[in-house]
Symmetry: C2
Subunit: 224 residues, 2 copies
DNA sequence: TTATTTTTGTATCGTTCTGTATAAAATAAG
DNA sequence: CTTATTTTATACAGAACGATACAAAAATAA
């Protein structure tokens, strides 16, 4: 059944709040949806079903937006996918920021980063979604060169974040001066990839936590 | 353009050898394709484009089999996907067997296993395919419970193989008796997952090899 | 009010998709 | 040779897909 305008108030799709009030009053008819919320819904849908596995009807239903409006606001399917992925990356940057706080020790930072990853990867209404980069975007890179560059950038960004962590620890004397931080960093990043895969496959949380614990222990072998 | 029977000899699809000669002469018209070869083609196609991204036309073209014959031989799309995945697992078991040879040291075994992984994950006519389990099957587990069990089994199998390696090393005295093999094993397995993702994203081979080298070094820290 | 601009909702177009019906072709058995 | 059996090739049915045309609706500007 299709949404009906049976009242005086325009029917907003269930659960989708109306357009952001802070928007400066523009000329024409106002949007009936909040762009950010709708994009988050698209992100979840793509993460669940992948690019090819998600139809525009799925997106339209999940976002509570009719297809023509969807095209007007986000472009075609590929463009929407790209925007959803960018939004995911931005969201992750926020989520992980706490793990990179300068007052944390190497061990604390790694613990927090892995705990965040487990929480993010395990979330999902229909089951754990894993990581957009690892599960969804990386699968699509063979068909989309632009996307591949974004994925490469995302992987490099994680490697770099880990590298900074280890370099900082070495500068602080948490690690010996000869610690091979260039080797440790991508290994630390690898744990994220594995956590994503295992979480998606519904590995028990205890297993994920054990992996994280073991990784921290091993990566901090040289730490004082 | 469609395959034409313009000669007396039945036209086998280009590059696909005729049915296996060792097949016992059965009653009706013989198959024009080798089941194993066709399945390998299906596997490659699914690995390139994923389940939803691969159409039956794609499969039919890649396998050199008309759709009705395809259904007759392999069932519907899901069934074919499952068989292709099982074939991948069997192929991997063969490929990795050498790394688990009993005469290898822990370090040698890990080096060989990671080298094998890099070779497998980097192969592909249209670009590196990564790992079926990590890239393709794990993405699909949300829509297919049966597949999820297979993926879980595949991940557990890798963890177990790594565990056996570390246990063997400890028994042989390569590792100290108090080495935490239960923590080391899933970490060693994690490196495969990361190699798959990075290879798929076309990370330079040197980067993959550096990751493998670093992993071996770290995992063998306690090895004599 | 009236005109202008933008979004919404419906309906649809052409394509592609999965799966199958059907008849010709190819082989073994009788 | 005839019959039974299995596969192949063509063609097609019904549904789902991505994308868009069009008019009503809802807001601002004049």
């Amino acid at each position: 059944m299709v949404q009906k305008n049976n009242g005086k108030r325009r029917g907003a799709p269930p659960g989708v709040p109306a357009a952001e009030p802070e928007a400066p009053a523009k000329r024409g008819r106002p949007r009936a949806f909040a762009t950010e919320v709708a994009l988050a819904r698209a992100m979840d849908t793509f993460r669940d079903s992948g690019f090819a596995g998600t139809s525009l009807d799925d997106l339209s239903a999940a976002m509570g937006i009719n297809r023509p409006s969807l095209y007007g606001a986000f472009g075609d399917k590929r463009e929407l996918f790209g925007k959803a992925y960018e939004r995911y990356r931005a969201e992750m940057a926020e989520q992980f920021a706490a793990a990179f706080a300068p007052d944390l020790t190497l061990r604390q930072a790694l613990e927090k980063a892995y705990a965040t990853a487990i929480a993010v990867y395990s979330a999902g209404e229909n089951g754990p979604r894993g990581c957009f980069t690892v599960m969804t975007a990386a699968s699509e890179v063979m068909a989309d060169e632009r996307l591949r560059e974004t994925v490469t950038a995302a992987l490099a960004s994680t490697d770099r974040a880990m590298l900074r962590l280890f370099e900082r620890a070495r500068e602080r004397g948490e690690l010996p001066p000869d610690a091979d931080v260039a080797a440790l960093a991508p290994l630390a990043a690898s744990v994220f990839h594995s956590l994503a895969v295992r979480a998606r496959a519904r590995a028990p949380r205890a297993e994920l936590e054990a992996l994280a614990r073991g990784a921290v222990a091993l990566l901090c072998t040289q730490a004082r």
